[in-house]
Amino acid sequence: MKAYKKEVQFTIWMTAAFILVGNVGLIFSIFPVDAMLFGFPVMYIVPILMGWFGVFLLTLVAGKIGNRIDDEIERENDALGHADEAKEV
């Protein structure tokens, strides 16, 4: 149950995080900001930076957690194999 819950929650939250980080323009279209950052308007450069480095960081996190959940599913499978080897499920 634990690994399954983690898998579902990971996919939902990670998808939401990716969509948010890739669509910062949508957020700024609702809440406009009139400021500058690194010489650019914030509403221009922040979506670009998030769309590159934000997404890149999320892929690192998603890769790590995805691998860990796979291992957990594998462990639950193994535990199941020992516990009820004879049982048909």
Binding site: L26, F56, T59, N77
Partner: protein, 548 residues
């Protein structure tokens, strides 16, 4: 002032392009000597390393549009188009985490392969036909772009260029298969990045930008001059609804593109697929950011530096900037980069068409044909798909990039819901899938400006043409139909004989990595209900006035 943008020395351009072609043929030939089975042809034996695959994913995704169309649309739409483009980077990461690893575990060749196992023959053939349409539209865009490049820059007549280079390209993809295409795409990605960013640095240096040594991000010293010359450049122009519609149309749309998903299945392992996604994000972010810089520099050059680019030449902005500011041999290299970008995407599209026709249609209808015959049909399908896109490109439609983006929406309506819901909800069945694909697809086509120009949602040409408005209505409708029709038909006893509930449940558990079956897994009625409510809200919002 109208100018004829053409290389003074077309031989130089031809030699550079010819040399890259020879390289691609050799790599394709060597890589594919062992392609003896369909698995090797379409997914490179599922044995591709993370860096190669990540680069190949990026190259497959970065079409000729990077060099031709995008910068033109930045010139036209300015910042809103950049905001639209940024989220395209989500494609591979989202495919990987939502369903890519599951389908890789299943051993699928293409997304429709999953649809066949999950929903049966009829649904998979409907989905495959839509996917062939999407792939051909996509391939068509590349073909047109390649022929236009040869025509305008090297002086080769459009039709001649289309046929000669079209057939050369189709030949190389047919010879190379997926292993060849993957190795070539990885090389092409390096060529694309170098041929785009290095010449851009030279252009920025010539204009006087102090951050020329890192073009993707260091051009802020041009911002004040830009704001003086064109104060509206950074304006968002459109309402939040427009920005929201990008999510169903392009973010979800990309999840249904077969040639992208197929890249995930080529990975040697699930871990390798996840590492490839990291490389993809890094390299794509780099080149995308450089594209925005190129668009910015283009607008800057036309508004402050006296460079004149007519509307008809807008597509060639990248190459024109190189002609103005760089020596001719650099422009020749940029053209080779543009052709590489077209080639890698085209090979992804054609391989998808090959897999769809031979694996998803012919093997489905005639499961007993031999491996050898199946492989031969695959080669013929790849070749025929290429020839079809060449023939369709004889009379090219206007708006190259716009029609490619419209194809994203079609994939989002007809394929993405079937795959996403199919992987995560056991109740989804073939009746729901067929209803979603057919009704959603028809609705999307009806509200597009291409069939009934008077039936559109916004009346704003580019918004309807890119499928933003159509997808905002049709994608949620497709999700609702899939869930509601499945839910109802699962509860009609007369239909239970026609459904394969137990096989579906086993398939879903297996592709998520489970060796046992548990009723509580992937069975949430609450999750399905929330999806229906949210989808209904989005569809109603899409029908309300857009105020454009």
């Amino acid at each position: 002032m109208e100018q004829n943008w053409q290389l003074d020395n077309p031989i130089l351009g031809l030699v550079v392009v010819g040399a890259t072609f020879v390289l691609f043929y050799i790599v394709g030939f060597i890589s594919n000597r062992q392609s003896k089975s369909a698995k090797e042809l379409y997914v490179g034996g599922s044995n591709v390393g993370a860096i190669t695959n990540g680069l190949a994913m990026a190259a497959t995704y970065m079409s000729l549009a990077t060099f031709l169309g995008i910068t033109a649309l930045i010139l036209q739409l300015q910042v809103p188009f950049i905001m639209l483009w940024i989220q395209l980077i989500l494609a591979i990461p989202l495919i990987t985490i939502i369903y890519g690893t599951s389908l890789r575990r299943m051993g699928a060749f293409s997304p429709t392969h999953f649809i066949r196992d999950r929903y049966g023959t009829t649904a998979s053939i409907i989905a495959a036909l839509f996917m062939i349409l999407v792939s051909i539209m996509y391939a068509l865009g590349q073909m047109i772009g390649i022929a236009i490049t040869f025509e305008t820059l090297l002086g080769i007549p459009y039709i001649t260029g289309l046929f000669i280079f079209g057939i050369l390209i189709v030949g190389y993809i047919t010879i190379g298969g997926m292993a060849g295409a993957t190795n070539n795409a990885a090389i092409q990605m390096v060529i694309i990045a170098l041929m785009f960013i290095v010449p851009l640095a030279a252009i920025m240096k010539a204009i006087g930008a102090s951050g020329w040594y890192f073009p993707p991000l260091l051009y802020s010293d041009m911002v004040p001059a830009m704001m003086d010359a064109l104060p509206t450049f950074f304006d968002y122009q459109f309402s939040p609804k427009w920005y929201f519609s990008i999510i169903p149309a392009l973010t979800i749309g990309a999840l249904g593109l077969p040639h992208l998903a197929m890249r995930v299945y080529t990975a040697s392992s699930l871990k390798s697929a996840r590492s490839a996604m990291v490389w993809f994000a890094f390299i794509l972010g780099l080149v995308f950011s450089a594209t925005y810089a190129m668009g910015f520099v283009g607008v800057f050059a036309t508004t402050t530096q006296g460079v004149t680019i007519s509307d008809a030449d807008a597509d060639k902005l990248t190459i024109i900037l190189n002609m103005v500011y760089n020596p001719e041999w650099v422009t020749a290299l940029v053209i080779a980069g543009a052709i590489s970008a077209g080639l890698s995407t085209l090979s992804g599209n054609l391989l998808a068409i090959g897999a769809l026709i031979s694996q998803d249609i012919i093997s489905t209808l005639k499961p007993n044909i031999s491996q050898r015959l199946n492989l031969r049909i695959g080669f013929i399908a790849i070749f025929a798909g290429g020839i079809a896109s060449i023939l369709l490109a004889i009379n090219p439609p206007a708006f190259l990039v716009v029609s490619i983006l419209w194809a994203f929406g079609l994939a989002g309506v007809t394929n993405a819901p079937l795959i996403i819901v199919g992987v995560w909800w056991k109740e989804a069945n073939k009746f729901g899938a067929i209803a979603a694909s057919v009704v959603g697809g028809a609705l999307y086509i009806i509200v597009s400006p291409f069939v009934f120009p008077s039936i559109v949602l916004t009346g704003h040409g580019v918004t309807d043409g890119m499928g933003l408005s159509g997808a905002m209505l049709a994608v949620p409708v497709s999700f609702i139909l899939l869930i509601v029709v499945s839910y109802i038909t699962n509860r009609i006893p007369a239909l239970s004989g026609k459904l394969t509930k137990q096989a579906d449940i086993e398939l879903i558990e297996r592709i998520h990595g489970w060796k046992d079956i548990k009723a509580y897994r992937y069975n949430s009625t609450l999750g399905a209900g929330i999806t229906v409510v949210v989808s209904a809200a989005v569809a109603i919002w899409a029908l309300m006035p857009w105020g454009m």
